[in-house]
Amino acid sequence: MNGPFDAKAYVAHMEKVVDLKIRDEWRPTVEANMAATGKAANLIMSFPLDDEVEAAPVFLP
């Protein structure tokens, strides 16, 4: 990711996209959790994976 992940702005945007209603008193912890997820994502997104590495499917037609 470029620069620090702005969890506050992201939550404000995504709650509209997903149609969630976040009360003011819940907001700081929702943002803190989003920031923690962003930190975890940084670890994953910065790790190079070869093109042939596929997610394991469980769907069996």
Binding site: L20, I22, W26, T37, A40, I44, L49, V58
Partner: protein
């Protein structure tokens, strides 16, 4: 609080006594129900006590034995985390919201298997809301308390499964483990806990948390009891589309084969830091007992944990999205805010985490070419005092809840079988678990090692003599 002989009897001992006619299943059930009713007000392990069902089921077992049947779990009382469907009981999954659902119309597949084998169900057990928990704290049902020290957490999310077995109410409980929820309460409550290989046991009739990571399994006070129950729980179930098409294994039969030909190593790197001394001392004690003097670095375990975290929060939040939109106020505050943020995770993060899972699986397969067993801490510390919000690890203050699963999460991420074994360090007032990790589909190896350790006296799961002000 007095520990009666009924409370210390293992499932294996009870089944033998009932099968031989030394005691009736009905008498065992009556004693168990009395113990449950006496102890539950103290530890809060049960949310639903199925008294009538237990007595009816026990009488049916006595009839089957009288008719000449042989039952591997003859009259063994047990209980299940309340995300398992119990016929005629509402499946709470630790929530207030699900209480408005209809009662379950049938038992979960694993309960059906235990009933068929002569087990006697005594009720549904406390858990963290929707299994998104490592503490055993629940805003709706109150906290489940650790029988070894009631001021401390049981660990979660299979909190009641830990408290009920550790207090001697029943010898066997079932729990679920997505990121550590069988192994963490096993560590905090001093039990043997088996998280089988992902896809091994049917999940049909259980309320999901994260379909890609959910496992079901037993907790007990001996490795032998784990093997006894695990062998009964196995079997193909068309009702679970995610169950792997694998033949079952007979783990009880090989339990006493010892450890002579096993290559055992300690997991290094990530698994040797970010814990309190007791976590590593426990691993060292077990390693010494097993003669394991190799340490193997597990590459990218921190990323494995991060990937499991992302998949967990995104997939569970999608499951609960309707409820999050309609009635967010009815969630436990400690899970609601995580579900709300999880509903906003970008798809590319999730997909990359899923692809990383495959990468990590290949790394671990390579490692298991050279070893048969890896040892790692189960939890970074002993059971925390109830209400603990932060912990200090390697000099850094971190939120307690998610970090309880620091060492369990990378292992369940790729579905490896684990038995958490309970260690009592010299002078310690509390137990702590060590993960005995085996290659995929080799629960028999982990159980053999656990059994060996129990026989050598290195690990043990005594019934807690509960001490509170109301004795």
């Amino acid at each position: 609080m007095t520990i009666t002989p009924h409370m210390t009897r293992t499932a294996t001992q009870t089944a033998a006594a009932v099968q031989s006619g030394a005691i009736s299943a009905e008498a065992v059930a009556t004693h168990a129900l009395a113990d449950i009713n006496r102890l539950n007000p103290i530890v809060n392990a049960y949310t639903d006590i199925t008294t009538e069902r237990a007595l009816t089921e026990a009488r049916a077992v006595d009839k089957r034995l009288a008719a000449g049947e042989t039952l591997p779990l003859a009259g063994v009382p047990y209980a299940v985390k309340n995300l398992f469907d119990i016929e005629s009981v509402v499946t709470r999954a630790g929530s207030k919201i699900n209480l408005s659902n209809q009662p379950a119309s049938a038992d979960a597949s694993l309960i059906q298997r235990l009933s068929q084998a002569g087990g006697v169900l005594t009720g549904g057990l406390h858990m963290g809301e929707y299994a998104y928990d490592f503490t055993g704290e629940n805003a709706h049902d109150g906290n489940c308390l650790n029988p070894h020290d009631t001021t401390r957490m049981t660990g979660g999310s299979s909190s009641g499964s830990g408290a009920a077995a550790a207090s001697g109410m029943v010898p066997i409980t079932l729990g679920s483990d997505t990121n550590g929820s069988i192994r963490v309460p096993s560590s905090f409550c001093g039990l043997f806990g088996l998280k089988p290989t992902f896809g091994r046991l049917s999940r049909a009739g259980s309320f999901p948390f994260v379909g890609d990571l959910d496992h079901l399994g037993p907790l007990a006070r001996t490795a032998e009891d784990l093997a006894l129950v695990f062998d009964v729980l196995q079997g193909h179930d068309p009702a679970d589309p995610a169950q792997a098409n694998r033949p079952g294994i007979a783990t009880k039969a090989t339990l006493s084969e010892g450890i002579e030909n096993l290559r055992i190593a300690v997991a290094g790197g990530y698994f040797r830091k970010s814990g309190q001394p007791e976590a590593f001392n426990a691993v060292d004690l077990v390693a010494a007992e097993l003669g394991a003097n190799r340490e193997i670095d597990i590459p990218e375990a921190a990323r494995a944990r991060a990937a499991a975290y992302i998949i967990t929060t995104a997939q569970s939040s999608a499951l609960h999205l309707g409820r999050l939109k309609k009635q967010p106020e009815n969630f436990d505050p400690d899970t609601r805010d995580r579900f709300l943020s999880g509903a906003m995770v970008p798809a590319v993060w999730v997909q990359q985490a899923q692809r990383f899972r495959t990468w990590f699986q290949h790394q671990m397969r390579d490692i298991f070419k050279d070893v048969d067993v890896l040892l790692a801490p189960t939890t970074p510390f002993h059971a925390l005092p109830s209400g603990t919000k932060t912990v200090v690890l390697d000099g850094v203050e971190l939120p307690a809840r998610p970090n309880i699963g620091l060492f369990t999460q990378p292992i369940s991420f790729i579905g490896l079988p684990v038995v958490s074994v309970p260690v009592w360090l010299e002078g310690a007032a509390l137990p702590i678990g060590v993960q005995v990790i085996a290659p995929a589909w080799r629960e028999d190896i982990a159980l053999r090692v656990a059994h060996h350790l129990q026989h050598s006296g290195a690990v043990s799961a005594p019934v807690a003599g509960i001490t509170t002000g109301i004795n």
